[in-house]
């Protein structure tokens, strides 16, 4: 079901993984496997996460008190389900705010550079989907 991911795209996602996981868990509690799928769907297929990188980050978020987890039984199988905590929601708000500041600043630089390039007759670069979303 999943397609291969380029190394650069993968590292782009990894850099924002804590924010993405907190955002996803703020919508609904989830287990690891479903989180990978929901990130793929919510990003419109742009984010393909290396499966092995997910769990250490979830454990780290739990250690920091931003999520909590417990075993749950679903369809007769035991699964570790993660939920965002109050501290996690506050952290999500703060990290979202910081992300928007950075995104707007990068957009501003890119637009200014492209406008300057237009002014001297250079072709305007067309960012790919992942470059536009992954940072």
């Amino acid at each position: 079901m999943r397609r291969a991911t380029s190394e650069s795209a993968e590292s782009s996602v990894r850099g924002h993984l804590e924010l993405l996981l907190l955002a996803s868990l703020s919508a609904t509690p989830s287990h690891g496997y479903a989180l990978i799928e929901s990130l793929q769907i919510l990003s419109g297929g742009a984010f393909e996460l290396a499966e092995g990188s997910l769990y250490p980050v979830l454990h780290k978020l739990e250690h920091a008190g931003l999520v909590r987890s417990a075993w749950d039984r679903e369809s007769g199988r035991r699964r570790r389900v993660y939920r965002i905590t109050g501290a996690g929601r506050r952290e999500l708000e703060e990290r979202s705010r910081r992300w928007r500041v950075i995104r707007d600043a990068v957009d501003s630089v890119l637009s200014a550079a492209a406008d300057a390039g237009d002014a001297v007759g250079n072709p305007r670069p067309r960012p790919s989907r992942l470059e536009a979303t992954g940072g």
Partner: protein
């Protein structure tokens, strides 16, 4: 010959020897759960059980690397960070 998921889990266990028992059990159980879900889905897509397990473990990656990512930083890492 061990099935792919069992073999992968054995290698993970061996790589997690420095972790405390409770934490080791949780990491192993969670990884096994993930691999079984992944293999179930791949099997539904038409792979044989063995092919599905082999692909599921390949997607989760090398078990030693997986184990390493759970390891806390070495005690002196903060010194290196501070000096950088």
């Amino acid at each position: 010959v061990a099935e792919p998921i069992d073999a992968w889990i054995q290698q993970l266990r061996a790589a997690l020897t420095s972790e405390r028992r409770l934490r080791q059990t949780r990491i192993v159980d969670e990884a096994r759960d993930h691999l079984q879900l992944s293999a179930d889905e791949l099997e539904r897509e038409g792979l044989s059980r063995r092919e599905a397990e082999a692909k599921a473990v390949a997607q989760l990656g090398d078990p030693r690397r997986f184990a390493r990512e759970f390891s806390p930083p070495a005690p002196l890492d903060w010194l290196v960070d501070a000096a950088a």
